[in-house]
């Protein structure tokens, strides 16, 4: 979808400009424009407006990130240890490099160096592929460790833990397996804490078992973060038993996947656009007289880079 705003008038230039207007000297000029300059400016303004929408589109996610991190900083400080700064850094460099080649491509298009332009576009394309490959490795590794959003985050890594979950009494579960659910429920019952209700008589019926989805005893102490790691050392792979894990760690991964995922989608769209540019370029569509699509495609690609420039510190450089 993102590529759309560039295509219309760039297509428009391709066709239906023969009859009904006297712009013969500008083969790429659409009938409703007076001068190529006007057309170029329009395309550019249109693209910038679209980029503005992209900024706001991600803006929503940035706001969500800000609020979540603001609410429970310990979660972010803790979870960031699961992200590989080096991989992230490499990815940043790859993306910046591809951004540079893109800028060069535009420059070569402006100066009719079509071969060089194609080479740069191909390099950009490969940069995109590299980025996605590295992302793929990051994702798979995390998913393997159950470092995902929501309930999936709490899937016990192996059978024994699953057993414990089934049979352990509430307090132990809360201690050994501080799921957001038990914690939330423990917190969620103000009654006992707020008023001194008469102690409930012992029931003739056995207590209901307490599992991950069971209820904790309302009086149970809430599980908030123990002191989060002073050192940046990697936590145990069996992170589910990590006693230092703060409540709601899953939220970090929720927003992490949301933001990097959406960015990833944009990278893929960018690859499609660049691919299209390469194809058109090979067919000799572009030159100093007409390179709007290259220019606009470039703008889009730079924004993809731009967003990553902010995602990187927000996720990988948390301390």
């Amino acid at each position: 979808m993102s590529a759309i705003p560039t295509s219309p008038e760039s297509h428009a230039d391709g066709h239906d400009h023969d009859d009904h207007h006297g712009h013969g000297e500008h083969p790429f000029l659409a009938h409703h424009f007076d001068t190529p300059a006007q057309q170029f400016d329009s395309g550019k303004l249109g693209m910038w407006l679209f980029l503005a929408t992209e900024v706001l589109f991600f803006g929503g996610l940035f706001a969500a990130y800000a609020v979540l991190r603001f609410k429970n900083p310990e979660v972010f400080a803790y979870s960031a240890n699961y992200l590989d700064t080096i991989m992230g850094g490499i990815n940043t460099c790859v993306l910046i490099a591809s951004s540079l080649t893109m800028a060069l491509a535009v420059r070569f298009a402006q100066t009719d160096k079509i071969k060089a332009m194609i080479v740069c576009l191909v390099l950009t394309f490969m940069g995109a592929i590299g980025f996605m490959v590295i992302k793929y490795f990051e994702y798979t590794h995390k998913i393997h460790d159950h470092l995902v959003w929501g309930p999936g985050f709490y899937t016990p890594p192996n059978e024994e833990v699953a057993m414990d979950v089934q049979t352990a009494p509430a307090e132990d579960v809360v201690a050994a397996l501080p799921t957001f659910e038990t914690a939330a429920l423990a917190e969620a019952s103000p009654v006992a804490a707020m008023y001194d209700m008469p102690p409930a008589e012992a029931s003739v019926i056995a207590k209901a078992p307490v599992g991950p989805s069971g209820i904790a005893d309302p009086a149970g102490e809430p599980v908030k973060a123990a002191a989060y790691p002073e050192t940046a050392e990697e936590p145990a792979v069996k992170h589910l038993e990590d006693p230092r894990m703060p409540v709601g760690t899953h939220q970090f991964f929720a927003i992490y996947y949301a933001m990097t995922g959406l960015h990833g989608i944009h990278v893929v769209v960018g690859m499609i656009v660049i691919g299209w540019l390469i194809w058109k370029g090979l067919k000799g569509h572009f030159g100093s007289k007409y390179y709007t699509p290259v220019d606009l495609g470039g703008l889009y690609w730079h924004v993809v880079d731009l967003i990553w420039i902010f995602l990187f510190p927000l996720f990988y450089l948390i301390h």
């Binding site: 209700m197 029931s203 209901a208 989805s213």
Partner: protein, 363 residues
């Protein structure tokens, strides 16, 4: 704003203290709200009359007689002083209104220190009001001439507590406490006609429009009696009589979704529920039957245990074909209450469809 609303309300007063626009005012902040409402009304009446008059008058006075062009583009194209005037005047008016409304809002938003706190739990689609002594009720009972604060939370989705006669409203948001305070000096007694209305004003699904209750304002002493009586009613009942003495009272809340006579409803009927549970023939949406879960070493020691768990964690096992619509009653029912309900489920045949006990001695 201590100017009594009577000044304006008198003009449109109807019998029961309600006005043409507003219902009866029964809380201490209502006066201020009504005053603002009426003040704004009169401002609106004025400007509305002004605009409409000019509109009709001009439209008639300057209507085009023929196609002739005389009068085309006559008159001034702009008149800056005039335009500045009708920019400034409304500005001043709204600034004043804002500050008056803001002051009223502060009174609404900040409770005094010595409030009588009531804990409110909203769930689809019932309210539970819990009083400091552990008593709880479905309708709201408050002492008169004393500031009351409701500390509200929701078990499931957004709800909103609205008492028109008090002019107060506050959303009940899951995951947090919202508070609202008010004081009423007009006791209603336990008379349902006189009692005030309490609505849910945040859309919450099927039962949204039936999530309304009554508000009873009792004299200090009457309230004390009521609340102590409510706090102790359960203790008075011996265990073996629990299910038919306490059961029907508790069933009133279950009745929203469960029938006793096998009638269809949001949740499973209680008729035959015990037999199914004992045989373990209940089928869950994951295809397993209850038999797979009950027994030594299994999830539930006994069928009762399963029933208890279904009241506390309804989401654990969903009975086909029902959805996960039931709120948890954890923290709302203590063990004896749960015993009473389970007892009632066991002896469901002893009860009429309305929950009353068949063998009750006729008084």
């Amino acid at each position: 704003m201590t100017l009594p609303p009577a000044t304006f309300n008198a003009l449109l007063a109807t019998s029961d203290g309600a006005t043409f626009w507003l219902p009866e005012a029964a809380s201490t902040i209502a006066g201020e709200t009504d005053f603002m409402f009426d003040l704004i009304n009169w401002i609106c009446y004025f400007f509305f009359a002004l605009v409409t008059f000019l509109l009709v008058w001009f439209a008639w006075r300057y209507r085009q007689k023929s196609h002739s062009h005389e009068g085309f583009s006559a008159g001034p194209t702009h008149h800056t002083p005039l335009e500045v005037t009708w920019t400034i005047v409304p500005l001043i008016i709204v600034i004043v209104i804002f500050f008056m409304g803001f002051k009223g809002f502060l009174n609404f938003a900040t409770p005094p220190r010595d409030t009588y706190d009531i804990d409110v739990v909203a769930a689809k689609w019932l309210w539970t009001f819990k009083y400091p002594n552990g008593a709880s009720s479905d309708d709201l009972y408050i002492p008169s001439e004393r500031p009351v604060r409701l500390v509200m939370r929701s078990e499931d989705v957004l709800h909103s507590l609205f008492i028109p006669q008090f002019r107060i409203k506050r959303d009940v948001v899951p995951g947090r406490y919202n508070q609202v305070w008010f004081q009423s000096d007009d006791p209603t007694g336990e008379d349902e006609q006189a009692a005030y209305d309490l609505f849910c004003t945040e859309y919450c699904g099927t039962g949204h429009s039936n999530m309304n209750r009554k508000v009873y304002v009792l004299e200090e002493t009457a309230f004390e009696e009521w609340v102590t009586e409510q706090g102790q009613w359960l203790d008075a009942i011996p265990d073996e009589e629990l299910y038919f003495k306490a059961g029907p009272k508790l069933f009133a809340r279950c009745a929203n979704c469960h029938s006793l006579d096998g009638g269809p409803n949001t949740g499973p009927t209680w008729k035959g529920l015990w037999d199914r549970s004992r045989e373990g023939s209940t089928v869950f949406d994951d295809g397993t039957t209850l038999a797979d879960h009950v027994g030594p070493g299994k999830e539930f020691a006994t069928p009762e245990d399963y029933l208890r768990n279904s009241i506390l964690n309804p989401g654990n096992h969903l009975v086909k074909p029902y959805t996960n619509a039931m709120p948890t009653f954890k923290g709302q029912l203590n063990d004896r209450m749960i015993d009473a309900i389970i007892g009632m489920i066991k002896n469901v045949d002893e009860f009429n469809a309305d929950g009353s006990w068949k063998n009750a001695p006729a008084e």
